[in-house]
Amino acid sequence: MAQRLTMPVEEQKPTNQPQQEFTGSEILLRCLIEEGVEVVFGYPGGAVLPIYDSLYQGALKHLLARHEQGAVHAADGYARATGKPGVVIATSGPGATNLVTGMATAQMDSIPLVCITGNVAQNLIGTDAFQEADITGITMPITKHSYLVTDVKELPRVVKEAFHIASSGRPGPVLIDIPKDVSNARSTYRYPEQVHIRGYQPKTDPHPLQITRLHQAIAEAKKPLILAGGGVVTAGAEQELIAFAEKINAPVTTTLMGLGGFPGQHAHWVGMPGMHGTYAANHALLECDLLIGIGVRFDDRVTMGRLDKFATGAKIVHIDIDPAEIGKNVDTYIPIVGDVKKSLEEAVKEVPRARSDAWMGQVQQWYREKPLTFKDSEEMLKPQWVIRHLYETTGGDAVVTTDVGQHQMWVAQYFPFARPRSFITSGGLGTMGFGFPAAVGAQLAKPEATVISVTGDGGFQMTNQELAVVALTNIPVKVAVINNRCLGMVRQWQEVFHSKRYSEVDLADSPDFVKLAEAYGVKAWRATNKEEAKEAWKEALAHPGPAVVDFQVASEENVYPMVAPGSGLDEMIMGEGDE
């Protein structure tokens, strides 16, 4: 394998001199710089003292979170905003275990992360030493791969492989666990130029035969439908998807993870499908005769787990980079394993147009005539109105992050995203407390963008300690707390499925979020009606630094439409209202 010296020229000694040696932590730092890392998120501790010592000179920007979970979600937000791996550093034991939720979140949504943990020295591993945790063992099910580095000489190769694995194929989090003696050990340093991993060669080119079969199926289809997911965003295939959808003349529905992968303003778009999806998207799924899934995994929030009622009359085409996704949840008529962008580039060539004019008309009519509705109010602030206001005031130009729950669904419904990587949400794991730190990472990645963390009063309290970070480093994230003084989605389920037995969902005794923000040195506003909301939001947007707006919304609002678990997509409970 070709290798080169990557140390600065002046440090290279003549060949008869011994090569300069570096500590493991210095080597790690050099590897990260070599990988083009701009910022690392982290939190120091005993086992990473050598690593933090190497960061002392400031060769690499480091953001000190207030909790390792904040750091890993911020790294995740950075990764989702840019497509580049996010990097997080934590110490052994509790530092490492505090990363677990963040790694699981990234794994479920296929987000590239490189998570670096310190561990106790190798002679102490297995002895239940102070701050020892078997983090490679703990995270095995929630990482794409993991390394326990036992020899400093392996470190450059491991870092190179970790970045490659995290960001290629179907991306995901990779853990590098570095015992303290390895960080301190000395070695010469060469960064490998190439990476070869025998057991890891993701297939990116689609099979031509399957593309031909896809063309035949399109030519025969009268009711084609495209179901596009997060894979479109990951692959950067939005232009190819638009061209493909227009050429074959098919409506497009985007999953939660796919929002922004196809413009929400496009005439072919019919909203999100599934449990809280649009009438048009769900009925198109029920009635289509050709379903083309692109970078999706047919999750149970889309199919409702009722395959007997899901696209039963359709041939299913499945395009995905991960062969294991094909046939996992639904039977596939045409499997296309490959990079979504490359596959669509091939698929769009000489693709026939489906005989789908009547169908397009039908689906678009559903979309027009069965819109999302809510009952607006002049007395109470309605959460849907707030989300729509955020959209209108930012021209859809913002990067929006969310946690999980009602506010997440309302953003998905009422903020039609125009561009990929503008919606950052915990889709698969559904992690409360994800959105705010993720917004911090996204804002660092895109300093010029308006980054809005739409969160709930529940989720915000899980990670709002990161207000300290945005205040101290003046990261201008705008936090929109959709404050309904309860755990809204749990409350909604208790209302509908547990006879209004509201068990432990009351958050009315939460702290005053305005005072809380101010205590951290962050400007904050409260709004209880539309006029206050407009004024507060306007001032928050105009404020050059971070801001928190506490939108006190109606507490009994539910997310509609809704498909009850166990029901099929044909059993939608539609919302009431006139908007």
């Binding site: 095995m140 794409k144 326990l148 694995i165 057991g199 991960d322 062969p323």
Partner: protein, 168 residues
């Protein structure tokens, strides 16, 4: 249906944990796993006996392939394969029953590998069903301890790229 999956893996620390962890969390059955050296230095061969319908078996193979340390996955049900397991069993034996037990194990081509005052240790190899049958026959004499290796297997007559099927 029962399947024997042969997996070539990097001989790395924790590779058995990775495989077992994956099978466990995806809710796949494990009848047995055996692991040892392979023909290539640095690689181990793991033989997993599992069961499930066609979709499950496809998922087992595809999910195993996703592990970075997995080099090759082969479903031996798609080949003619030789399947063997080693059984050690200590069975109660008095001077009066030793000859009887010898008579039972002889058709199984099993052998006595240790003799105690009141017991015999029998070693047998073969397919799982054969070993089960042997144990059933020995049970009336009092089985004291059993150790089984789990199944290991190789495709018949197959060298790389060429599969020659001899017999069944």
């Amino acid at each position: 249906m029962r399947h024997i999956i042969s997996v070539l893996v990097n001989d790395q620390p924790r590779v058995l944990a990775r495989v077992a962890n994956l099978l466990g969390r995806r809710n796949f059955n494990i009848e047995s796993i055996s692991v040892g050296e392979s023909e290539e230095p640095g690689l181990s061969r793991m033989v997993i006996v599992t069961s499930g319908d066609e979709r499950t078996m496809e998922q087992v193979q595809k999910q195993l392939h996703k592990l970075i340390d997995v080099i090759k996955v082969q479903d031996l049900n798609e080949h003619a394969a030789v399947e063997r397991e080693l059984l050690l069993v200590t069975v109660g034996a008095s001077s009066g029953t030793r000859m009887e037990i010898n008579g039972i194990i002889e058709p199984f081509r099993a052998s006595v590998v240790d003799v105690g005052p009141n017991s015999l240790m029998v070693q047998a190899t073969g397919e799982r069903s054969k070993l089960d049958a042997l144990l059933d026959l020995l049970r009336p004499y009092g089985i004291k301890e059993v150790a089984r290796t789990g199944v290991t297997a190789l495709p018949r007559g197959a060298t790389k790229g060429v599969a020659v099927h001899v017999g069944n």
